[in-house]
């Protein structure tokens, strides 16, 4: 399983994906950190069959809520921005779907973010969600080695 972690460590809760990568590293699980820029993301999952992508999201849920979407089967919720600033994970996924280059299995884990202030620290709710998600991924990775069912979705 390829684990891609997106985020910005300098924008408050947007660091969520990066923090998950750091926690998984401590648990000896390999990840790749990425910016979420679509052309780069498409390169990063090229050839991978099973991809887990982690990023901060905004859906209106309470901060720290963990969402899991099976993006190979369903579209992600639409993004509000149409400028290239909004060219991110959701665009990359829909573009890959149109081009037929979506990984066979692509799950997106979103941690609900509440604060994107420059230089802000991630909130306590985000830090707890990071720990919870990393534990669930670690559990799935250990189950995978025993050919068990996935924990996440």
């Amino acid at each position: 399983m390829l684990i891609l972690c997106c985020g910005n460590p300098d924008r408050g809760d947007d660091a969520a994906g990066i923090l998950v990568a750091e926690r998984l590293k401590e648990l000896s699980i390999d990840t790749q950190v990425c910016t979420g820029e679509p052309s780069v993301l498409l390169q990063q999952w090229d050839g991978a069959h099973d991809v887990l992508l982690i990023d901060a999201v905004v859906t209106g849920s309470p901060a720290g809520t963990i969402h899991v979407w099976n993006a190979s089967r369903t579209r992600l919720p639409p993004q509000p921005s149409e400028s290239t600033h909004g060219f991110g994970v959701a665009l990359a996924i829909e573009l890959a779907r149109k081009l037929g280059s979506l990984p066979e299995r692509l799950r997106v884990c979103g941690i609900e973010a509440g604060n994107f202030d420059l230089g802000a620290k991630p909130s306590a709710a985000i830090q707890k969600a990071v720990e919870d998600l990393a534990d669930r991924i670690a559990a799935e990775c250990s189950h995978q080695s025993q050919d068990s069912l996935p924990v996440l979705l």
Partner: protein
């Protein structure tokens, strides 16, 4: 007389956030405002008190699309202030670095941001369903640009290797030679792209622009040259502020730059091409001429063809540099701490980018001034719309709005640079 308003609340497919308001009163365009509402970003103030060696990395953070332009204008301005001249091979590597950014940026704009306008799609995803091959080409071209930037800069976005005096790390011959097959493919696809773009439908619209671009005696401009215009300007970067001034308008958080005593001017692909056609490599000149493109190009909608010609240039130039490359003995020469003032202009994908730095004897920056290309084009975009919208008076609202958005995208504006999306509103009024 009928009056109406065209307003795009969130103009898509531009870098950054803004809105467009056009008021039409019968046959007349009464008002045009490109409203830049993103907050000011204060980079010039962040730079004060920092050591000059930090400026290239701080300035690069202004833009995720053209960080190299910011790094290049910064290093050149600072080196001028210090009286430092890097080795010729460093100069070549900087040109190669810039070619990578031009390939990334032009491929993004031609195929992903501008092509949907010409092909009648609301966005890239809708276009991808019917033009898969086009999108795949764009992605591969962008990936090739990314590889160059990554190799020379350490990473694709906000690279970190460019330094005052050279680079922190330079590539080996083998690393550069590994780029050649991809660049040969990119060159071929760029030539095909010129042919493809020439077949698009262009509105009949020409303007008598003052084109402003760098001109170098021997090469198509990237990092060096005198600043020239088709109105007789021929100046050194140090004279820039004597000839240009920035104005604040109420509806924009970005300043609008004008030529003192004359007004708006145009920078970017059309200006470079019109002022430097003879400096393009043969492959790019031939591609342009075969597309019926001769300087000057006064129809801004044809900028998509000119960008494709510049893709041919960037790929050819990258291949040429790689063929001549020998790694330098040292990647970076040491630079002294001394007081100084230096200015430089380089050619970002969207046009000229001016930087000026003054620092003290400890090398700490006292003042910084940065004039990005989009600030220089903002007034010109409004002037284009003021003229172009008169052609749209009888058009249905939705089509008129679409065309106005397209007219803005002719400039590939990077609003993030200029402060920093676009909303368009057209008002129609009966007199």
């Amino acid at each position: 007389m009928t009056a109406r308003t065209i307003q795009v609340e969130t103009l898509a497919r531009v870098e950054g956030e803004s809105s467009l308001y056009i008021k039409m009163a019968g046959e007349r365009v009464a008002d045009v405002k490109l409203k830049i509402y993103e907050p000011p970003r204060f980079f010039e103030a962040f730079l004060r008190g920092r050591h000059y060696s930090e400026a290239p990395d701080i300035a690069a953070r202004i833009c995720g699309i053209c960080p190299i332009a910011y790094q290049m204008s910064a290093v050149h301005a600072i080196e001028r202030a210090l009286g430092v001249k890097p080795e010729p091979i460093i100069r070549l590597l900087r040109r190669l670095f810039y070619c990578g950014e031009w390939i990334e940026s032009h491929a993004l704009h031609i195929f992903m941001l501008h092509a949907p306008d010409f092909l009648g799609y609301a966005d890239l995803i809708a276009m991808a369903a019917d033009h898969r091959e086009l999108v795949e080409k764009a992605l591969r071209l962008k990936k090739i640009g990314n590889r160059i930037v990554s190799l020379l800069g350490g990473r694709e976005i906000h690279p970190i290797s460019a330094a005052v005096g050279g680079f922190y790390k330079v590539p080996t011959n083998a690393q550069l030679l590994a780029l050649v097959p991809d660049l040969e493919w990119a060159l071929q696809v760029s030539v095909e792209t010129v042919q493809w773009t020439k077949g698009l439908e262009f509105p009949s619209f020409e303007q008598d622009y003052e084109f402003v671009a760098l001109r170098h005696p021997d090469e198509y401009p990237l990092n060096e040259g005198r600043l020239v215009s088709n109105r007789g300007m021929d100046i050194d970067a140090a004279e820039y502020e004597d000839h240009f001034t920035e104005l604040h308008v109420k509806h924009s958080n970005a300043l609008q730059s004008v030529v003192r005593g004359r007004g708006s001017y145009l920078v970017g692909p059309l200006a470079r091409f019109s002022l430097n056609f003879e400096k393009l490599p043969k492959a790019a000149q031939e591609a342009a001429l075969s597309a019926g493109l001769k300087p000057p190009v006064k129809n801004p909608f044809r900028s998509i063809v000119v960008r494709a010609v510049e893709l041919v240039f960037a790929c050819s130039e990258a291949l040429r540099i790689i063929s001549e490359y020998e790694p330098p003995a040292v990647p970076r020469s040491d630079t002294p701490n001394r007081a100084g003032v230096g200015q430089a202009i380089t050619e970002a994908p969207r046009g000229i980018l001016y930087h000026r730095y003054a620092f003290n004897e400890r090398g700490l920056i006292l003042t910084a001034k940065i004039v990005p290309p989009t600030s220089q084009n903002l007034r010109r975009i409004e002037d284009d719309l003021r003229e172009y919208a008169t052609q749209l008076v009888a058009w249905p609202q939705a089509e008129a709005t679409w065309k106005c958005e397209q007219a803005v995208r002719n400039y590939d504006p990077c609003i993030s640079c200029a402060t920093h999306f676009l909303k368009v509103r057209i008002d129609r009024e009966t007199e």
